[in-house]
Structure formats: structure tokens, C-alpha cells
């Protein structure tokens, strides 16, 4: 079964932050299945679904690797090991990137 993990990331709305997050995810051995970004009052909220390229990857390590990025405020692991991605209905007016 393909593991799918969902992360919610709040960050400052600074040029390049999204690209940095995407880069980290792929660099660390995960593949981005989907990415939704919403502008919030003082930053942006990103929800990303990722799958590992190999089974030895820890989602908690990835969470911390994203969280240590300078403009990232926090990263929350939404749910574990889903079989299929959600439909992203929780975020109104979400932008599909």
C-alpha cells in the first residue's frame, strides 16, 4: 500500500518559502502528491500530501526538516498513512498549485 501522509504548514508569506518547502520534501526522499496553498491574515497555510520513495523514511523527520526552515512557523502532521488523498474540502477558496 502506498503510504500517504498529510502535513499542514503555516509559514510567513515570504517570496520563496513555498519553493523551499517543496525542495525539502523532494530532496529528503518524498514525492509531492498534491499541494494546496491559502493566504491567511499574516502568512500562508499550506497542506501537502506526500509519499515516501522508500519505506525507511520517517514523516516525523520530514516534519522537523520543514519546521526548521526559517520562514516556517509550524508543521503539523494531519493524519497518518492514508490510502487515498483527501479532497481538500476543509480549506475554502484553496488554490491548487
Amino acid at each position: 500500500m502506498m503510504t500517504i501522509e498529510t502535513l499542514t504548514i503555516e509559514c510567513e508569506n515570504v517570496n520563496g518559502t513555498l519553493r523551499r518547502i517543496w525542495t525539502i520534501i523532494e530532496q529528503r526522499g518524498w514525492y509531492v502528491r498534491s499541494l494546496l496553498v491559502e493566504e491567511i491574515e499574516d502568512g500562508s497555510m499550506t497542506r501537502v500530501q506526500v509519499s515516501p520513495h522508500s519505506s525507511n523514511r520517517s514523516i516525523e523527520t520530514l516534519r522537523l526538516q520543514i519546521e526548521r526552515l526559517h520562514n516556517v512557523r509550524y508543521v503539523k502532521l494531519e493524519r497518518r498513512s492514508r490510502e487515498k488523498p483527501s479532497q481538500w474540502k476543509e480549506i475554502p477558496h484553496a488554490t491548487v498549485v
Partner: protein, 568 residues
């Protein structure tokens, strides 16, 4: 209205200044009085602002060397070194040096010129996406769009580079931003965040030590980066627990320390690797379970529970589960860490026995020069002021294994990236950072050729660096692996057409000499250490000499080979 006394006239009514001027003044304001750089079209406004500014500029002869030299300042001082380059090829030439700093958590600020904003994205001359290219190898990066932002960006860049787990920061500045004049004042660094400490984890760590029968410290490069060497030395000594160190952790305990079993890993000491395999508690401080240290990961320290102290929470349990995780600022926390080991005398005695049973041999046959013996003698003779800067390859491991290091800064090496060409420019930067130290670059004949142009920089500034080229006319480490693991199929490792390195040095105006026999070594070291200016010692060694011991790639640290006759 009377202005506050602490405000300067400049802060009250700043004169318009160009972005380039703000770059130079900001660097000086944050203590960066020396930069390593190479000018070019898109960084010319900054170069225009340098003369008469008080900023000392060292012109290296390749941007890669600028990056290595700047990072060397960071490695020596824990303060961010600074390099400058132009857009396009200038920036791409910095990349290896930036990546090297990233892998070894070295504070550095790299400032690059960029084409003017109106032509960004149009494939303009010497345009490249520096921000994008460097993104995976920086701690943080900026493209500055408004010259008024420059003071704040540079202040933040230094703070990010030096705080927490250090790393390189890139600031890409379009040419028009450098040229535009604005009113802006210098800004102080943003306040440092204080990471919360999990006191309970600390107490659990102490309990783990107390209940262990065979505890062992595993000391890494994060200790020096955190400025916590004194705290770690005190901790090790008051706990009386044996210790091993990583390549980057050499010097945390001085060579010869009675509790130090040596470096662990692929070319580590046998005593260190046996102890790791047998310990029941590994107390990891500022290390990241690098594959060159652990060998086959699932066989590493198989009997041990792990207590892991690290500044970077993302390193804990990344590769090896930590039974007790202590993400923290290492320096204050270790001063607070008061473990009381249980009855571990038998374990300590066993560790000492492993050291005694595995002495390092220096009695190589023949009358050729045995590089390990030369390096040992050199570092002993240079004494406490010795700083060994290796390049990458066999000689790098010989330096790590055989030189004496009084402190972590005495051993500078490209540990994570393993960049050939690292040695000479890094040593140059180290000597600039610590003029009173005896800085010795040890390179192989492969690596020296990758940045040999920096001999010109030594000559230009009369930097009294000492350079050793250990010449086996081979890419020695690759040759060794081809001999051992590729059935002796030697492919593209022959460098017998090398130039005469002593003559090359002379052509650059650097004193030099060559030795080929063992009985020349003692006199050569005397002459080398006595030199007042830059000097290069060309040492011809046996091409078939290998680095021992060796853990074959993909094998357990228990499977060390001590010679070519060993099975693996």
C-alpha cells in the same frame, strides 16, 4: 526635540546611500572586516564601494576558492565568513563551497550580484537563478528587491548563519538594487530565540547513564559549532566514561586524552569501533550518525540504547532511534547534565585494553617516505599551534588518524561533502582567520590541482601558509577502492603526468622543495616549519600505499580490514 543619546547622527538623518554602500557598511557593522571575492559585471557596484571603506578584500583566483576560504573563517571562529561573487558563473562557481559549508554546518554569508530586475527572467547575459540553484544547500537565502531592505537582510543573514545549527546564507542582489540610493540605517541583529529545554528528558538521560554498565560518549562536530568544547571536556572527565569521536569531532578531546578511544567509522581506530559495537549506552553529542561513521546502520551499536543531544531536532532519530532525545542548545544544557555512572570500572579497563592491543604501526618497510609517520612527526613538532587542513582522499584520512589535535579547530576537513580542492583555499582562509597558528594544508596530487591557482593568492598577500603535497601520482583513494573492491581494475586513476609541484610553486613565487626518501623527512620538517613566508613541500610517496584500517562500504564496523590480505 532632543534625540535619544544612543542614536547616532546618521540614524537620525541618514544620508541617501546606494545599495552597494549599504552592503559594505552592513558587513562592517556586523563584524565582517574581511571578505573573499572575485569581481564581475553584476557585482561591480559593490566593488565600487569597497575602496576606502575599511573592508579588507582578498581576491582569490576562483570563486570556489572564495567560498572555501570564507567558510574557513566560519570553521575557525564560529562567526560567518563572507564571500562575494558576480551573477551567473560567479555564483555557480560558489556552489561547491556553499554546499560544503551546508553539509558541515558552517556559518557563512555568500553575497552574489544578479542582473538588474528589469531583465531578470529574460535569460540576460550572466543571468542564472542563484536563489533556486542554491536552495537545497543553504540554511536560508534572499533575493533583495529593495535597497532599503539591505541592512535588515544582512543583519538577519548573519544571525541565521551563526545561530542554532549554523549554515550558509545566500543573498542575491540585483544590480539595480545595488545602484539605487535610499535612506536607510543600520539595524541590529534580531533577537536570538531560546529553545525550550525538556528537563525531564535530561533527567531520563542521567538515569540512563546511571543504569548502564558500558556507557560510551559519541562526540561530533556539533560540539565545536556550539562552542561547547569546555563543557564536553568537563562532562567527560567528571563522568569518567570512555569516548569515541567522529571525523568532525576530532580535537573535542585532545589527541592522547586517556578516555578517548579514537575516531570511529570507516577509517576509525579498532578500539573505537569495537567499543561502539559492545557498549550498552551511546551518549551522542552533536553528531548525526553519518554513514561513514556508522557503517552498515542496522548493525551499528547493536547492544546500545541511545541518548542523543543535538541542537537540531531533525537530526534526532533521523537514522538511529533515540531512546532519550534531548534537542537543545548544547552548551548550557551539558553544563547542567550531571550523570553519575554506575560501577563501570571493568568497562573502562576493557576499553583501555582495546587501545593497548591495537597500537598504530609506523614501521613501514623500505626507504620511501611513509606519509602517516611524516604527518605524525610534523604535528608533534608544530605543537599546540598546529592546524591541519586536509584536502580529500587518502591523505585526509592519514591526517585524521595520525596528527595531534589540541582542539577541534586544529583539524579542518571536508567531512560531509568530501570536496576535492577544499584544502588549499580553506587553509588560506584559516590562516587569515588565525594568523598566529601554524596552519598546514595537506593535499594530495589530485586535490591540489583543483585549486592550485590559490598559490597566487598566497603570494599576492604573502600569507605564510604551509602546503604539503603528498604525491603518489594517483587518485589514491579511488585507486585503493579499485584495488580492493573492483578486482584491481584501475580505471582513470593514473596521474603520472602530473607537473612538478615544486616547480609550479616556484612559478607562482612560492618557495618549495621536494623530498623522496625517508631520511630526508626530519630535515624537511625543520625547514618547512621554519619558513617565514608561504612554502610548499612536495613529498613523493609510494602509490601502492593504502589507508588502514578500513570498513568496506556497506559492511558493519565489526568487519574492519587491517590490510589487503583481510577478507571482507
Amino acid at each position: 526635540m532632543t534625540p535619544p543619546a544612543q542614536m547616532t547622527a546618521e540614524q537620525i538623518a541618514p544620508e541617501p546611500k546606494t545599495g552597494a554602500r549599504l552592503v559594505v557598511e552592513s558587513l562592517l557593522a556586523h563584524g565582517a572586516d574581511t571578505v573573499f571575492g572575485y569581481p564581475g559585471g553584476a557585482i561591480m557596484p559593490v566593488y565600487d564601494a569597497i575602496p576606502g571603506s575599511g573592508l579588507k578584500h582578498i581576491l582569490c583566483r576562483h570563486e570556489q576558492a572564495c567560498a572555501f576560504a570564507a567558510a574557513a573563517v566560519g570553521r575557525m571562529t564560529r562567526k560567518a565568513g563572507v564571500c562575494l561573487a558576480t551573477s551567473g558563473p560567479g555564483a555557480t562557481n560558489l556552489v561547491t563551497g556553499i554546499a560544503d559549508a551546508f553539509m558541515d554546518s558552517v556559518p557563512m554569508v555568500a553575497i552574489t550580484g544578479q542582473v538588474a530586475q528589469p531583465v531578470m527572467g529574460t535569460d540576460a547575459f550572466q543571468e542564472i537563478d542563484t536563489f533556486g540553484i542554491t536552495m537545497p544547500i543553504v540554511k536560508h537565502s534572499y533575493v533583495v528587491r529593495d535597497p532599503a531592505d539591505i541592512p535588515a537582510v544582512i543583519a538577519e543573514a548573519f544571525e541565521i548563519a551563526e545561530s542554532g545549527r549554523p549554515g550558509p546564507v545566500v543573498i542575491d542582489i540585483p544590480k539595480d538594487v545595488q545602484q539605487t540610493a535610499v535612506e536607510a540605517t543600520m539595524v541590529p541583529r534580531p533577537p536570538k530565540p531560546k529553545p525550550p529545554l525538556d528537563e525531564e528528558a535530561l533527567r531520563r538521560a542521567e538515569a540512563a547513564v546511571q543504569s548502564a554498565e558500558r556507557p560510551l560518549f559519541y562526540l561530533g562536530g556539533g560540539i565545536m559549532r556550539a562552542g561547547a568544547v569546555d563543557e564536553v571536556r568537563a562532562l567527560v572527565e567528571r563522568s569518567n566514561i570512555p569516548a569515541v569521536c567522529t571525523l568532525q569531532g576530532l580535537g573535542v578531546l585532545p589527541t592522547g586524552h586517556p578516555q578517548l578511544l579514537g575516531m570511529l567509522g570507516m577509517h576509525g581506530s579498532k578500539a573505537a569501533n569495537i567499543a561502539v559495537m559492545d557498549c550498552d549506552l551511546l551518549i551522542v553529542v552533536g553528531a548525526r550518525f553519518d554513514d561513514r561513521a556508522t557503517g552498515k546502520l542496522d548493525t551499528f551499536a547493536p547492544k546500545a540504547r541511545v541518548v542523543h543531544f543535538d541542537r537540531d531536532a531533525a537530526e534526532i532519530s533521523k537514522l538511529r532511534h533515540a531512546d532519550v532525545a534531548v534537542p537543545c542548545k548544547i552548551k548550557p544544557v551539558l553544563a547542567d547534565f550531571r550523570p553519575e555512572a554506575g560501577p563501570i570500572d571493568p568497562w573502562r579497563a576493557q576499553c583501555q585494553q582495546w587501545v593497548a592491543d591495537n597500537p598504530v604501526p609506523y614501521d613501514a618497510p623500505g626507504d620511501g617516505i611513509y606519509a602517516p609517520a611524516l604527518l605524525k612527526q610534523l604535528s608533534e613538532q608544530a605543537g599546540e599551534k598546529f592546524v591541519g587542513v586536509a584536502d580529500v582522499g587518502q591523505h585526509q584520512m592519514w591526517v585524521a588518524q595520525h596528527c595531534n589535535f589540541s582542539r577541534p579547530q586544529a583539524h579542518i576537513t571536508s567531512g560531509g561533502l568530501g570536496s576535492m580542492g577544499f584544502g588549499l583555499p580553506t587553509a588560506l582562509g584559516a590562516k587569515v582567520a588565525e594568523p598566529d597558528s601554524i596552519v598546514v594544508n595537506v593535499s594530495g596530487d589530485g586535490g591540489i590541482m583543483m585549486n592550485i591557482q590559490e598559490l597566487a593568492t598566497l603570494r599576492r598577500y604573502n600569507i605564510p601558509l604551509k602546503v604539503i603535497v603528498l604525491n603518489n601520482s594517483r587518485l589514491g583513494m579511488v585507486r585503493q577502492w579499485q584495488e580492493l573492491f573492483f578486482d584491481g581494475n584501475f580505471s582513470e586513476v593514473d596521474l603520472t603526468d602530473n607537473p612538478d609541484f615544486a616547480e609550479v610553486a616556484k612559478a607562482f613565487g612560492v618557495d618549495s622543495f621536494t623530498i623522496t626518501k625517508r631520511d630526508e623527512v626530519a630535515g624537511a620538517i625543520d625547514k618547512f616549519l621554519a619558513a617565514e613566508g608561504p612554502i610548499l613541500m612536495h613529498v613523493v610517496i609510494d602509490p601502492s600505499e593504502n589507508v588502514w584500517p578500513l570498513v568496506p562500504p556497506g559492511k558493519s564496523n565489526a568487519d574492519m580490514m587491517e590490510g589487503a590480505d583481510d577478507d571482507y
